[in-house]
């Protein structure tokens, strides 16, 4: 960073220090912006303000005890991070997971994806000045939080997954409530489209802003909704299914409402621009509703049974890579075990970190207001970048 901070800006340019305390840097991000009035020549992300050495902490903990820490990797969508850790360790020790737990994992993952996208959609609209979208989506998110609270007792950092299952079974009456939410949420998403996605000003602010082509997305290692908005048609849930996703997807296919991976397209926006990054997430919410509905139907068809079969003793040896489709895209965990109580090394690969890299490349020539749109559309979460 120092080379930018210390360099005397040439001519009319000035250095703007955007963050870490800035309303639209979502947590503690920092951008060093070189700008001539409103037009930027460069915005350099400065990461590391929320670095808590989670991977190092992992080396001193047992496999089971690390589970709450994974909540803190991405506190907006903690379930998939739980899932990722559980999946990796289960792979490492070869522990079986009962189907009931697998279904619950899918339901909670998808509910959490919806609530995470709510934050992104609301924040994106709010950063462009449309404040009302945010409270509306918070209202909806509150219902997801209520559901997950009833399930596992926590509203944000769930600590729900276990090695070999989930912590608790769903309480009586819970599926009905989830169905009530699913039924209600579809029209709300349509209303969201009427309110903001198709809003003339909103489209004009986002259309063609910071277009990332599919090739660029691949080369920067962008994943998840950000990559799909650029036209990369790749979703782990469909292309490398884990858990019982394959079965749920097949069930949807049978019912004639197949799971469709939301991919950016030249509609109101241009493929790969901020509008597509916004709208891909709206679509993902719709698809997640389908998955929740189908998973709920299947879990109610299967006879009630175990939801957690904890492995006797976890002393794995070897290496394993587990990956899940988290809210911010493909999250993978790589663990090296040496037969100890604690892992030798664990590493998490997250979507936000790679997304940040694209900011510097795409910021040249953008306006300050566009930078705000770009950051919001990438949906970066500070703890997920820094861990």
């Amino acid at each position: 960073m120092s080379e930018i901070v210390l360099a005397t800006p040439a001519g009319e340019e000035m250095i703007l220090n955007m963050g870490p305390h800035h309303p639209s840097t979502h947590g503690v991000l920092r951008f060093i912006v070189r700008t001539d009035g409103e037009v930027m020549s460069e915005a350099k992300p400065d990461v590391g303000y929320l670095h808590r050495a989670i991977e190092k902490i992992c080396e001193g903990m047992t496999y089971e005890a690390f589970m709450p820490y994974t909540d803190r990797i991405d506190y907006v969508a903690a379930m998939p991070a739980n899932h990722c850790w559980a999946l990796t360790v289960e792979k490492l020790v070869g522990a079986p997971v009962p189907p009931r737990a697998e279904y619950l994992r899918i339901i909670t993952d998808e509910l959490n994806r919806i609530s995470s996208h709510h934050i992104m959609l609301g924040a994106h609209a709010m950063d462009l000045g449309a404040v009302t979208v945010f409270p509306w989506l918070l209202r909806e998110r509150e219902m997801v939080n209520d559901l997950l609270e009833e399930l596992c007792g926590a509203r944000l950092t769930y600590n729900y997954h276990r090695i070999g299952g989930v912590a608790v079974d769903m309480p009586a009456g819970w599926p009905d409530k989830v169905m009530r939410f699913v039924d209600r949420h579809g029209p709300i998403l349509d209303e969201l489209d009427r309110l903001i996605s198709g809003n003339e000003i909103f489209v004009k602010r986002n259309r063609g802003v910071a277009v990332v082509t599919a090739a660029e997305a691949r080369s920067y290692g962008m994943v998840g909704p950000n990559a799909r908005a650029s036209g990369v048609d790749y979703d782990l849930r469909r292309d490398a299914p884990y858990g019982l996703y394959a079965k749920v997807l097949a069930g949807l296919e049978q019912k004639g409402t197949p799971f469709e991976v939301a991919v950016g397209r030249d509609a109101l926006g241009v493929t790969g621009d901020c509008w597509n990054r916004f709208y891909v997430r709206v679509e993902e919410c719709r698809q997640s509703l389908k998955l929740v509905r189908e998973a709920l139907a299947q879990i109610q068809e299967t006879p009630a049974g175990e939801f957690w079969t904890p492995p006797k003793k976890i002393r794995p040896k070897g290496e394993a890579l587990g990956r899940v489709e988290a809210a911010r895209g493909w999250m993978s965990c790589y663990v090296v075990a040496t037969g100890e109580k604690t892992p030798y090394r664990a590493h998490f690969r997250t979507g936000s970190f790679t997304s940040m890299a694209v900011v510097r490349a795409k910021s040249r020539g953008l306006m300050v207001a566009d930078l705000v749109a770009l950051i919001a559309s990438l949906d970066v979460i500070a703890p997920e970048i820094d861990r």
Binding site: V131, T132, P135, R139, L147, R180, V372
Partner: protein, 665 residues
């Protein structure tokens, strides 16, 4: 460009101020020039055609008249063409011709009143005729109207031939509040001055009648006696105001005095004036009164602004599925008081590197710029501080103060975010002044005046007689004005100068405590200004359907009702701005600028020309104009509203009312 514009505006203001003298006895030079030109023409035509037994009318002035004014007919010398008219003769002065209310159909009509021939000092022959325009005749005119016709002098009894006539053109105005206030002020002054003079006077049909004279007083020294009638003061018609004004100046005052009401000639009397100087405490009191009134206005307006903040937060709360403020006072309606107290008691923080004087003054400029607009905003027929005839020009001029304050604040804070906010604001406000001004010109073209009260008077109470539905260009101008006003007021979707997600808080980032409060108050008060202005210009102001302005003026209850009408319309527009703010995203700066310069300004020009063309085309076709207005009201007002309402109902239906917040209970 901006500086030149300001200069031109101030010049125009000065010119406009002088063209219509509020008090005729201080006739301005422009009126005199106009009158002289007219008089010369009159002398040329009137002199040859008829040879009645009166001197020709050489000049009629002033050409701009209000109720209660004195019309002065200057008579030429007798001689070859002229007859003789002895001073003191009662004559009937009659104006006959067409009276054209601005924007109305011309009506044949006339005004008649009693005049009196007055001679110059010491002369038995009349040189001028004074006629006071009293109330009942003025009633026939109503609002601002133009009179074109002839002025005729006939014997007082109304019988007999026309003694003299001359062509004349006059502008007739109804009595303004300002004039009434002048009268009241002059009355108190008169009492003070006449007590020094030692004489009491009473206005009568012939002049000021002296009722009592104190022995030994200056009046007695000047040989003024009870029963005398003062006809002229320094050669000008005698009025109480003029007497009061003249006696305060140093020097001598020449009074043309008749021994009594029936005697024919006048004698000049000299009074040593200057003995009744305005005492020093008089200025103090005057200053206190001014200060007090402005305090009342500022407080009332600030309280109104405070209410709007609470209202906005409540509306925002409802729109966002939350409750909004509901703790302080009944239903939270006193929240603004708590906020204000909090802000006032906060530390007034000044950044170390700030430009101190600029930083300290800038909130006040913004504050003044917004609050000064309340000088001319008409809330009802009488509730207006000053009905300036250049009202809207004044309004554009004073609101320009805001941009100075905003730039100063942004620059002086010595913060890059503030600076960007200040620059954005400068670009935005100066740019959007143009479309706002163009929309205003559309109305000015239609109304023929810039006075807010006059513009309202010319509209009707029913929606189809509002200016907004007058013609398609006016309808477009309304939207142009509203958009431009939103931009000038830094409201969403044009809140770029204080875009919290981009610039933290924009130009007021570094402000705290009371100074921040001043910025905030000005911003919310400005919301009211936007609504009130649009109401006055386009939406018929305080007019009540099926009621002319005159009966409204007569009744206190109708006054209150008209205030309620104005308030309701303005509040509806304020609600729209609040609603837009909590619905729309904001523009980017380049989009904002291109919207102004590529769309609003050219479109505003088109509207201006279109409106002119319409006025020209529909001139004299009142029936066609009325039908067009009703069609516009239905097509441009009712149909969009019904469509909008159906959309709202559709949304409610498909989201199941969606206010079910306790989904799981």
């Amino acid at each position: 460009m901006s500086l030149a514009m300001r200069l031109a505006m101030s010049l125009a203001m000065r010119l406009a101020m002088t063209t219509r003298p509020e008090t005729p006895h201080r006739a301005s030079w422009l009126a005199v020039v106009a009158a002289l030109t007219l008089g010369a023409a009159a002398a040329g035509t009137a002199g040859c055609r008829e040879v009645p037994p009166a001197p020709p009318i050489r000049d009629v002035r002033p050409t701009t008249l209000e109720r209660g004014d004195t019309l002065l007919l200057e008579l030429g010398g007798g001689g070859r063409h002229g007859g003789r008219l002895s001073a003191g003769t009662e004559v009937a002065v009659k104006l006959s011709g067409t009276i054209t209310p601005v924007n109305g159909r011309p009506v044949d009509g006339g005004l008649s009143f009693t005049g009196r021939a007055v001679g110059s000092a010491g002369s038995a022959q009349a040189t001028r005729i004074l006629a006071v325009i009293d109330e009942p005749q003025e009633r026939a005119v109503g609002g601002h109207a133009r009179f074109v016709g002839r002025v005729e002098i006939t014997p007082a009894e109304g019988r007999g031939a026309v003694l003299r006539s001359a062509p004349v053109e006059l502008d007739l105005f109804p009595r303004t509040l300002r004039r009434a206030a002048d009268g009241a002020w002059n009355g108190t002054e008169l009492r003070r001055v006449t007590s020094w003079l030692g004489a009491t006077v009473q206005p009568g049909p012939q002049g000021l009648a002296v009722t009592t004279v104190t022995p030994g007083s200056p009046a007695a020294l000047a040989r003024l006696e009870a029963g005398n009638v003062i006809q002229q003061i320094d050669g000008q018609p005698a009025t109480q105001g003029r007497l009061a004004a003249r006696l305060q100046r140093r020097g001598t005052v020449t009074l043309a005095v008749k021994p009594n009401a029936t005697a024919g000639s006048t004698v000049p009397l000299r009074v040593a004036a200057g003995g009744a100087p305005r005492p020093f405490w008089g200025w103090v009191i005057a200053a206190l009164i001014l200060w007090g009134t402005s305090l009342v206005i500022v407080l009332l307006v600030a309280v109104g602004g405070g209410f709007i903040t609470v209202w906005e937060r409540k509306v925002a709360g409802r729109m966002q599925s939350r409750i909004g403020p509901n703790r302080v006072g009944p239903q939270g309606w006193l929240q603004w008081l708590a906020d204000a107290l909090k802000l006032i008691t906060k530390e007034d923080l000044i950044p170390a590197d700030a430009d101190r004087p600029l930083f300290l003054t800038s909130p006040y400029l913004v504050f003044c710029g917004v609050f000064m607009t309340f000088m001319v905003l008409p809330f009802s027929q009488l509730l207006v501080v000053a009905d300036l005839n250049i009202g809207f020009l004044y309004l554009l001029a004073v609101t320009s103060l805001v941009v100075v304050g905003v730039i100063m604040g942004g620059w002086a804070s010595n913060s890059k975010w503030s600076l960007i906010g200040g620059m954005r604001s400068a670009a935005q406000i100066i740019s959007y002044e143009l479309p706002a001004g163009l929309a205003l010109m559309v109305i000015a073209v239609m109304a023929g005046t810039l006075s807010p009260q006059e513009i309202i008077r010319q509209q009707g109470g029913a929606p189809w007689s509002w200016y907004v539905f007058h013609n398609p260009a006016a309808l477009c101008a309304f939207f142009i004005y509203f958009i431009a006003a939103l931009a000038e007021g830094n409201r969403t979707p044009f809140d770029l100068p204080e875009a919290e997600s981009e610039l933290v808080s924009g130009y007021n980032t570094e402000y705290s405590g009371f100074r921040f409060g001043a910025f905030a108050t000005a911003e919310w008060v400005n919301l009211w200004v936007i609504g009130a202005l649009a109401t006055a210009l386009f939406l018929g102001g305080w007019r009540i359907p099926r009621l002319a302005p005159e009966p409204i003026e007569a009744s206190v209850w109708l006054q209150l009702a008209s205030f309620a009408v104005f308030f309701g319309k303005a509040a509806a527009l304020v609600f729209v701005t609040i609603w837009l703010r909590w619905t729309l995203p904001r523009f980017r700066i380049d989009q904002m600028m291109s919207m102004c310069w590529k769309y609003l300004v050219p479109f505003g020009l088109v509207c201006l020309v279109g409106s002119m063309a319409w006025m020209w085309g529909f001139q004299g076709h009142a029936q066609a104009q009325r039908i067009a207005s009703i069609v516009l009201f239905v097509g441009g007002g009712l149909v969009p509203f019904v469509y909008f309402w159906s959309r709202v109902r559709y949304t409610y239906r498909v989201t199941n009312g969606q206010l079910d917040l306790n989904l799981f209970k």
